[in-house]
């Protein structure tokens, strides 16, 4: 961590918060506090400068217009690039995931992305809406991903990133892979409060940010029940 306090920045909640994205900030803060880390959550609006010294940056989902505007302002601000160069963690969800790449489509136009991840997004043949599940890259040592997706884009990964997961239900990037990661940057189409269903993923981001090899386990009874219920629901829908 850059200081004694774990600093979490939620980027542009005025633009990129369409689907309960606040949840990821709340979940990270709570899980860090329960391990004894002092936490500060900063909500940085699109008319404010982005601090460059935070430990975790969160970018949420959004409609086409706000997504394009958010990308333009982040490019002009430059703060996120400096933070990444200093080793900060970035977690992007849905529109926030797309804009971490080199380009994305919004309102029928191609927009320049932040070029922090080697991927690009275009429009798919149909909107992907529904449960999303996948087996996460074994190197990350996490249980399967579960989430809900709602996006019209398809994302193509370059050699500079690894897929976050192999899709077992839903569409993700292209029906085969879902999300992407490189270093301490990670993006997913599992939208909104993605960490609510994936507490182990929340802990991965916290380990990246704090440098801790292990974090004491927490009581995740309800999250585990939710994960099991969703797994059953996906299996039932497929049968």
């Amino acid at each position: 961590m850059s200081t004694e306090t774990l600093r979490i920045v939620w980027i542009y909640p005025d633009l990129l918060s369409t689907y309960g994205d606040r949840g990821n900030a709340l979940i990270l803060a709570r899980r860090a506090q329960q391990r004894g880390f002092p936490v500060e959550v900063l909500e940085v609006r699109s008319d404010q400068r982005l601090p460059t010294t935070a430990d975790i940056y969160l970018i949420g989902g959004g409609e086409d217009g706000p997504q394009a505007l958010g990308a333009q302002r982040l490019l002009a601000d430059g703060g996120l690039h400096r933070a990444v160069a200093q080793g900060s963690v970035v977690f992007g969800v849905c529109a926030g995931y797309q804009l971490l790449g080199t380009s994305f489509f919004a309102k029928g136009t191609q927009y320049q992305g932040l070029e922090l991840l080697d991927l690009s997004s275009d429009r798919g043949p149909s909107r992907a809406v529904g449960e999303l599940a996948g087996d996460i890259d074994a190197r990350l040592g996490l249980p399967p991903l579960t989430g809900f997706e709602n996006h019209g884009g398809r994302t193509h990964l370059g050699p500079g990133v690894s897929p976050l997961a192999r899709v077992t239900a839903g569409v993700g990037n292209d029906g085969a892979t879902e999300g992407a990661w490189r270093g301490k940057l990670l993006g997913t189409y599992s939208h909104g409060p993605a960490l609510a269903r994936n507490p182990a993923l929340a802990d991965l981001l916290l380990r990246w940010a704090t440098g801790a090899q292990h974090l004491p386990p927490l009581d995740d009874t309800w999250a585990d029940r939710l994960r099991a219920e969703r797994r059953t629901a996906v299996a039932t829908a497929r049968a």
Binding site: D14, L15, G23, L26, R45, L69, A196, A223, R225
Partner: protein
């Protein structure tokens, strides 16, 4: 509002079946019969099946049934069922009113409601926001009320800005329709204002603004006109990049009462809970005024409304007084917390098709107002709610059924807040209470 401003011919001749083409007559009759059969079979309110059959036989049936009636359409994300009920009560000062009072708010429901009502001079119809443009074309309304636009069932609903654009285009095609619109919601103000009158200091003559307050601001930080940031201070809001700003409302809510455009204050004593319903009453009075109804005459009728399609209904069950509150999306959850008493509270969440399949919105609601109450949770998606409440530091108890919840609380009041199908499930347990 002088009656001369109303647009229909003023000839409120009876809409008799004899005036309709044969196909429409048959369709209307089949529609009524099917609705009656559905009710008799205990399959539902009958408010959808009848209209569906009628429209199959005559796709123009809704237009035929609308002809000759003076119609108000009421649309928005939240409060439309209650506002429709209140507006129908207010317009009832003038004569019989047809209305879709069971919340069946798509063209099938409108068709069924008008067919069932027979000939009435007036109709007040709740319209699903996605269908507003279509229903405007079919019914040629006298007035359209726009309540609010916020996120709701995002896995299938159109995004908020896109919905505002659809409303705006529909109204721009009919500049002769009176519009009653919420000055507190930037998306609604933009939708209600024709593209030619960007300068909001000029209120278009066909628009009447009301202010009913807005608790939820998270879907209107970006200007729908120019994309700049919208600033807020107190009740005022304005775009930082273009002239869009809050218009001066003619109807406002003040101190348990409603202030009309002349500045007269009317005490509104409702049996429905919460400040939000006083706002709905103000909207209803503004709609009725477009037909020439004076608030003085309408206000007593608003106090007669006790519950609306089960919403706010109270039922005694095993010594507990159960009250039902419907909350479908983040904005309406905030309002439900305001309406609910400090009492044991059951929350029930489903995510079936009518609810939207996505539960992410739970994290857009701050459940902190429930701290200190005995909170029980149930429903298909109770586990999603459990995770949310845990993170929100709201202790809770999980129960599998509504009956288990009733037994788990002490005798006295039990508030039930549920989303759409969860609400209907509990209402069914209470014998379809209205």
């Amino acid at each position: 509002m002088p009656i001369s401003r109303v647009r229909w011919s003023g000839n409120l001749a009876r809409v008799t079946d004899a005036k309709m083409p044969l196909r429409a007559k048959v369709a209307s009759s089949v529609s009524r019969t099917a609705a009656a059969l559905s009710r008799a079979a205990g399959r539902g309110d009958g408010s959808v099946i009848g209209g569906w059959l009628g429209l199959k036989i005559d796709p123009e049936l809704l237009a035929h049934l609308s002809a000759g009636r003076a119609i108000a359409l009421i649309s928005g994300t939240n409060g439309k069922t209650t506002t429709t009920r209140l507006a129908a009560a207010a317009v009832g000062v003038l004569g019989r009113v047809a209305t879709n009072s069971f919340g069946a708010n798509m063209p099938t429901g409108h068709t069924s409601a008008l067919a069932k009502a027979g000939s009435t001079p007036y109709a007040v119809l709740e319209v699903d926001e996605h269908y507003l443009a279509q229903v405007i074309e079919a019914t040629d309304p006298h007035v359209v009320a726009l309540l609010n636009l916020s996120r709701d069932q995002l896995d299938r609903a159109k995004e908020v800005a896109m919905m505002a654009q659809l409303w705006r285009a529909a109204l721009a095609r009919h500049p002769d329709i009176r519009v009653v619109a919420n000055a507190d919601d930037p998306m609604v103000v933009w939708a209600a204002t024709p593209p030619a009158s960007h300068d909001q200091r000029i209120t278009p003559p066909h628009v009447t603004w009301f202010s009913a307050g807005q608790r939820w601001h998270d879907d209107s930080w970006v200007c729908p006109e120019c994309g700049s940031t919208i600033q807020r201070s107190g009740e005022q809001w304005w775009c930082t990049g273009c002239p869009l700003r809050r218009p001066e409302p003619q109807w406002t809510v003040d101190d348990e009462g409603v202030v009309d455009p002349t500045g007269a204050w009317y005490k509104v004593k409702l049996q429905l809970p919460g400040k939000v319903n006083v706002g709905n009453a103000a909207t209803a009075l503004a709609v009725a005024a477009e037909f020439g109804v004076r608030p003085f005459d309408a206000v007593p009728r608003l106090g007669d409304v006790t519950s609306v399609a089960g919403r706010y209904a109270q039922v005694v069950r095993e010594g507990r007084t159960v009250r039902l509150l419907l909350a479908k999306n983040p904005a309406s959850w905030l309002e439900a917390f305001d309406m609910a008493d400090e009492a044991p509270t059951l929350l029930s969440i489903n995510a079936r098709d009518p609810d939207g399949l996505d539960t992410s919105w739970l994290f857009d609601v701050d459940f902190a107002p429930l701290r200190g109450r005995l909170v029980l949770i149930t429903g298909d998606r109770a586990y999603d709610l459990a995770v949310r409440l845990e993170i929100n530091d709201v202790p809770f108890q999980y129960v599998r059924t509504f009956d288990e919840a009733v037994r788990a609380v002490p005798p006295g009041r039990l508030e039930v807040i549920a989303n759409y199908t969860a609400f209907q499930d509990i209402r069914a347990e209470l014998d379809r209470v209205n």
